[in-house]
């Protein structure tokens, strides 16, 4: 096939985000030389590893046509329960960590099951899940619990050197593994393609003989797993657990997913794009810190505006694409005949 060097149109939103980040970072580095240091760049990943993990899980949920509002609350719940089990019950972190992932996955599976089998809106179910998880976190402990588990501490401090003295944390490695696994799932497995099909048209996906129910439960299970993993990374970073952590984080994650080029209505999007959505979020924070004068609330304002812009771009983009519809193959003219069959009128000779 002679594919001309032309970028597929469906990648335009994704490329826009990648471009935005690259240009933004370069301009920043020109203005603030500190940003040109490799470590500043790596910090972007270190500081946002948990958000990247949470947003990656959420990407699949959104592509499937759903939403998960419980992300932030599950992060908080994980941090508190993990801290409680380690500090007050005395379990080793090596036991606690898998247990937490299991808890997150089970929580997600439960929500997915309710959404599918009782046909309740994902918005409602995960909203309830959010209140439940946040409430449970405070039920376990009203105050912050500091974690002293030695393995947990050494994990938190571990540095993996990449270039010279510049390093990343274990969290970044974990985030990249999650990202890679999800990219594989989304684009190269039947499960992943069913997720896209569902997001495009769930009824059609069912009539095509795809296993919509199992896929849906699976998507929320993975979402819950990612939230719990993000919770572990979050608490490992701070070495404590508290019910107040990650308040409203689901909104930041949703914004990152959208800025990463995923359609909020489902069916279209890239896991890879979400990484850039998260990076753009991080970049704005870095710029504000280097600037030193702007209030940190500017992050929210800029993210809000960017999300809006991206949604607008996507909606004009989709309507433009729809107008391109109507392409038909070319065919030899001699073959062309117009339909004459009808039947509304009874022919004079009935058996003609």
């Amino acid at each position: 096939m002679n594919r001309s060097f032309k970028i597929d149109r469906k990648f335009v939103p994704l490329l826009a985000t990648v471009g935005l980040f690259t240009i933004g970072y370069i301009l920043g580095a020109i203005k603030y030389p500190g940003m040109a240091r490799p470590q500043t760049f790596f910090n972007l990943f270190i500081d946002n590893a948990f958000l990247l993990i949470a947003a990656t899980g959420l990407t699949l949920v959104i592509i499937s046509g759903g939403i998960d509002l419980s992300v932030g609350a599950v992060i908080a719940l994980t941090s508190v329960v993990a801290a409680d089990l380690m500090e007050n019950v005395g379990l080793s972190s090596l036991v606690v960590m898998p247990l937490m992932l299991l808890m997150g996955a089970a929580f997600g599976a439960l929500m997915g099951g309710i959404i599918h089998y009782f046909k309740v809106q994902p918005f409602i179910v995960t909203l309830a899940g959010m209140f439940f998880a946040r409430g449970m976190a405070f039920f376990v402990s009203l105050d912050a619990i500091t974690i002293t588990d030695p393995i947990y501490r050494s994990l938190s401090l571990a540095r993996i050197h990449l270039i010279g003295k510049a390093f990343v944390s274990v969290h970044v490695i974990v985030a990249f593994v999650v990202l890679a696994v999800f990219m594989y799932l989304a684009h190269l497995t039947r499960f992943g393609r069913t997720v896209y099909a569902m997001g495009g048209n769930e009824q059609s996906a069912r009539l095509m003989g795809l296993n919509v129910g199992r896929t849906k439960v699976m998507v929320y299970t993975l979402g819950g797993f990612c939230s719990a993993l993000a919770g572990l990374v979050f608490s490992n970073n701070l070495l404590s657990g508290h019910g107040l952590y990650a308040n409203g984080l689901e909104m930041e994650a949703i914004a990152a997913v959208i800025i990463g080029g995923t359609l909020l209505t489902g069916g279209v999007g890239y896991v890879f794009g979400t990484m850039f959505g998260v990076l753009v979020n991080g970049l704005i924070q870095v710029l504000i810190i280097f600037n030193g004068e702007l209030s940190s609330w500017w992050t929210r304002i800029v993210i809000g505006l960017l999300t809006l812009v991206f949604i607008l771009v996507q909606s004009t983009f989709t309507s433009w694409q729809r107008r391109q519809a109507g392409i038909r193959p070319t065919r030899k003219r001699s073959d062309a005949v117009a339909t004459t069959s009808d039947g509304a009128v009874v022919p004079d000779t009935p058996t003609s």
Partner: protein
């Protein structure tokens, strides 16, 4: 072989009720190996419901399904596929966001080491489509193609299930042109010779006589009878379907004296060099009150594009449009509705019905918009209007409050038509108004169009069925390759000439 050996499927005593409707009542159906079996009946007769029961989309209230001599309970469409039943449902049920190749192969993608092999998938999908003589880029999203291509993709998907013992096609040809239909028939014949049983639903009677071996007729959810095609005349078939004789519907406008170009007044709408790059080449068109102008041409020849321009969905980048003596400056559907123009769109699912609203709400929708949202239409008045059109178009629904998504395909089409008729437009543009509509209702709609013109309305009539265009229109505009070729009136208006013009010979 004894006949009973050939039977692959029997459905016995199938009943299925929906709130307010007995969609199927004690229906028997049987299918033989290697036959093409047509399922016929009016809109709302229960054809699609029977298919849905067979393929596990709907569970029957009563009744038994025997497949290959074994009783089966089909639990889901997936289960039906596993049993060797491959289906193309009436509404195209594919995912517009996925590529054409994926739509054809998803669920059965070629894999290598557990991973989807995209290269092979694209190649296979291309090959399957080529068998239907459709040569397109399968890596583009399905939604970027026309309804006809989407339909071909849906058919390709069903054909792909190699192990299929039964192939079900629910109105596959309603959006296809004659060539595409003939390709499909070729494939159907081949499958038949290989022993596959095919269930074929259509409202095109000629197609049934061309291809079907036997016909099962349903009416109001009940079985009327099973017939050998060769032993049943057109007339008998139609009266079996409708339960009445069709002579009264005969030849809508053969009696109608076509108006010569004797319009003294100014044209109602006048297009001069109107065009839009990539959609339709600049064209001239005059439209007078009291006439029906037909647009003839293949799908994709620019018919729908003309309709979109005249209704303001697309903006022209060339030429002028005059309406009622004034140059049109604002192109939008809303402005068009305010001017008294209405368009009943071709793709009812994407551009027409609001599935979750009731029949009444769908009918008064455009009318409400033309009145402005704040001038409220009393609910008694709304019901009155809805009732009027339900009766006029014979819309089969238990009540005006039924959500439109619960209506049969053909009846949904009628609801759209009612919506635009209700706005009482001066100019009515009908894009494929009779797609998927049964013979009786088709004749009613044709009559209605002619009657509207006689009342002094102008009408643009678009249809792939040439004789329908000829029957209703005073003039016919012929299009080819997104260009207006010519305009025919009077004696020139005959099938042969139009077909030659379309073919460009």
């Amino acid at each position: 072989m004894a006949e009973s050996d050939q039977v692959i499927l029997t459905m016995t005593g199938i009943s299925r009720a929906f709130p307010g409707v007995q969609a199927l009542q004690d229906v028997d159906f049987n299918l033989r190996r290697g036959e093409i079996h047509a399922l016929m009946g009016e809109n709302g007769a229960g054809k699609s419901t029977l298919i849905k029961v067979l393929t596990g989309v709907e569970a029957p209230d009563t009744g038994v399904i025997n497949l290959d001599g074994k009783e089966v309970q089909v639990k889901s469409p997936q289960h039906a596929q596993d049993l060797g039943i491959s289906t193309v449902y009436q509404e195209i049920n594919l995912c517009p966001n996925l590529t054409v190749a994926e739509n054809i192969l998803i669920g059965r993608e070629p894999r290598r080491a557990g991973r989807i092999d995209w290269k092979r998938m694209n190649a296979e999908a291309r090959e399957i489509l080529l068998r239907l003589d459709v040569d397109i880029d399968v890596t583009r999203t399905l939604g970027s193609y026309s309804v006809a291509i989407q339909q071909m993709a849906a058919i390709a998907r069903a054909l792909e299930i190699a192990s299929a013992k039964i192939l079900i096609l629910d109105e596959p040809t309603s959006s296809l042109d004659a060539y595409e239909t003939s390709q499909l028939f070729g494939v159907m014949r081949k499958l038949k010779s290989q022993g596959t049983a095919v269930i074929f639903i259509t409202h095109f009677i000629d197609q049934v006589y061309e291809i079907a071996d036997r016909i099962t007729v349903l009416r109001n959810g009940k079985l009327v009878g099973v017939y050998d095609t060769a032993a049943l005349t057109h007339l008998e078939l139609i009266s079996n379907m409708l339960g009445r004789n069709l002579v009264e519907l005969e030849n809508v406008s053969k009696s109608r004296t076509r108006r010569a170009q004797s319009f003294s007044s100014e044209p109602l709408m006048q297009a001069r060099e109107l065009g839009s790059t990539g959609a339709i080449e600049p064209f001239d068109l005059d439209l007078y009150a009291g006439e029906v102008v037909g647009l003839a041409g293949l799908l994709g020849s620019g018919r729908t594009e003309i309709a979109s321009l005249l209704f303001g969905i697309d903006k022209p980048d060339h030429g002028t449009l005059t309406y009622d003596g004034a140059v049109v400056r604002k192109y939008s559907p809303l402005a068009s509705i305010a001017r008294g123009v209405a368009l009943s769109p071709e793709d009812r699912k994407a551009a027409g019905i609001v599935e979750d609203l009731s029949v009444r709400e769908n009918i008064v929708l455009a009318m409400q918009a033309s009145r402005g949202w704040f001038r409220f239409l009393s609910s008694a008045k709304q019901t009155e209007i809805a009732d009027k059109y339900i009766k006029l178009l014979n819309i089969v629904t238990p009540s005006p409050e039924q959500p439109v998504k619960n209506l049969s395909g053909g009846n949904q089409q009628k609801v759209i038509l009612a919506r635009w008729l209700a706005t009482n437009p001066q100019l009515l543009i009908l894009d494929e108004p009779t797609r998927g509509i049964d013979v009786g209702a088709k004749a009613e709609i044709q009559k209605l169009v002619v009657a509207l013109a006689e009342e002094g309305k102008a009408c643009i009539f678009i249809s792939s069925e040439l004789d329908e265009v000829l029957r209703c229109s005073d003039r016919v505009v012929v299009l080819r390759d997104q260009e207006k070729i010519t305009e025919l009136a009077g004696d020139e208006m005959n099938e042969t000439l139009i077909m030659q013009t379309i073919a460009g010979s």
